[in-house]
Symmetry: C2
Subunit: 202 residues, 2 copies
Amino acid sequence: MPNPSRRSETSRQAILNTALDLVADIGYPKVAIEMIASTAGVGKQTIYRWWPSKGALLFDAFLTLAGTPDGELAALPDTGDLAADLKLVLNATVEDLDNPRYRQTMRALHTEIVHDPALAADYHKRLDGPMREVKKDRLRAAQQAGQISKDADLDVAVDLIFGPILNRWLQQTGPLTPEYVDTLVDTVLCGLQPREAAAPAV
Amino acid sequence: MPNPSRRSETSRQAILNTALDLVADIGYPKVAIEMIASTAGVGKQTIYRWWPSKGALLFDAFLTLAGTPDGELAALPDTGDLAADLKLVLNATVEDLDNPRYRQTMRALHTEIVHDPALAADYHKRLDGPMREVKKDRLRAAQQAGQISKDADLDVAVDLIFGPILNRWLQQTGPLTPEYVDTLVDTVLCGLQPREAAAPAV
C-alpha cells in the first residue's frame, strides 16, 4: 500500500526542485504558480495548500538549495585565526553566488523580502536570525580570545563583515574578488581590535 | 503660441509626480504604465517614447524626489570632524528613509536594479557612481588631514560606512537608530585610522 506521507514528501520535493529549475531558466518574475504545478505534475491547489505565496515557496526552495533545513546550521570554522576563518567563509559565499541556480534564487528571495513583510519575518525567524547567532558565536569566541574588543557591538560587526558582499552583489556595484574580501575583513577587524592590541605597527 | 518644449516638460513632470504618488499609494508592483498615463492625462505612447521601462521611469522619478538631477551632487559636509560629518549624513539618510514617498520609491528602485542590468548600469552611471565619488572626496580630505590611513582602500571604506544602513533597511534586519549610526561610524573609522593614531587609549 502506498504511504501517503511519503508521497506527499515526494510531491513537495518535486515542487521545490521545479521551482528552482524554472527560476534559474526563465527568472523569478516570469515564473507562475500554474507553471510550477503543471511542470511538477501536481494540482495548483496542492501548492496553495502548502504555501501562502510564490515568495514563501521560493524561500523553502532556497532552504533546500542551501542545504539548511530549519535548525541545522553549522558553526563557522574556528581555527583560532579569525581573519583567515572569515575570509574562508566569505570566499565560499562569493563562490555560491556564482552558481546560476543559487544566484537567481538568492536575488529573487532578497527582492521579495523587501516588498513582503510576512516573508521577511519568516526569513528572519528561520534563516537570517539563526545565521546571525552562528556568526556572533564565532565573534564571541574571538572576543574571549582577546582578538576583538570587549566593548565591540557584535551586531554591528556582523553587518560590517557580512553585509558588503551581499550589497555589492545585489546592487552590482563592483566585482567580488578575493582581494576585496581580504581588504574588507582586514579593515573591519582592525576597527574591532582591543585598543591595547592596536598599538603602532611602525 | 504655446511652446511645445515647455508643454513637453510639463507633461514629463506630471508623469513623474503621478508615478511617485501611485507608488506611494499602492506600491510599485501594482502600478502599471497605463495607470500612470491615464492618471497623468497623457497617452501611453508618450511614456513609452520617453522611457524604455517602468524601472527607467521610476529612476527618473526618484531623481526628481531626491532633488539630484544629473551632475548636481552637493559635496559632503566637511567641518574637519569626520565622524560628526558622517553621522550627520547617515542620520539624514535614515530620516529620508522614514518619508513614505521616498521609502516606497527607494525600495522599488533597489529591487528593480537587482533584476534589470540596463537599469543597474544607468543607476550606477547617473547616481551611484557620482555619489561614490562625492563620498570618496570627503574621505580623501580626511586622509590628507591624517585622520585616515594612507593605505586605506576608499571603495571598501565607502561600502562599510554607507552600505549597512541601506542593507538593514532593505532587508529589515533591525531598527535604524542614532545609536546604530554612532557605533557603525565609530567602528569603521577606528579600523581606518592611521596605525600610529590607534595607540592604546588606556
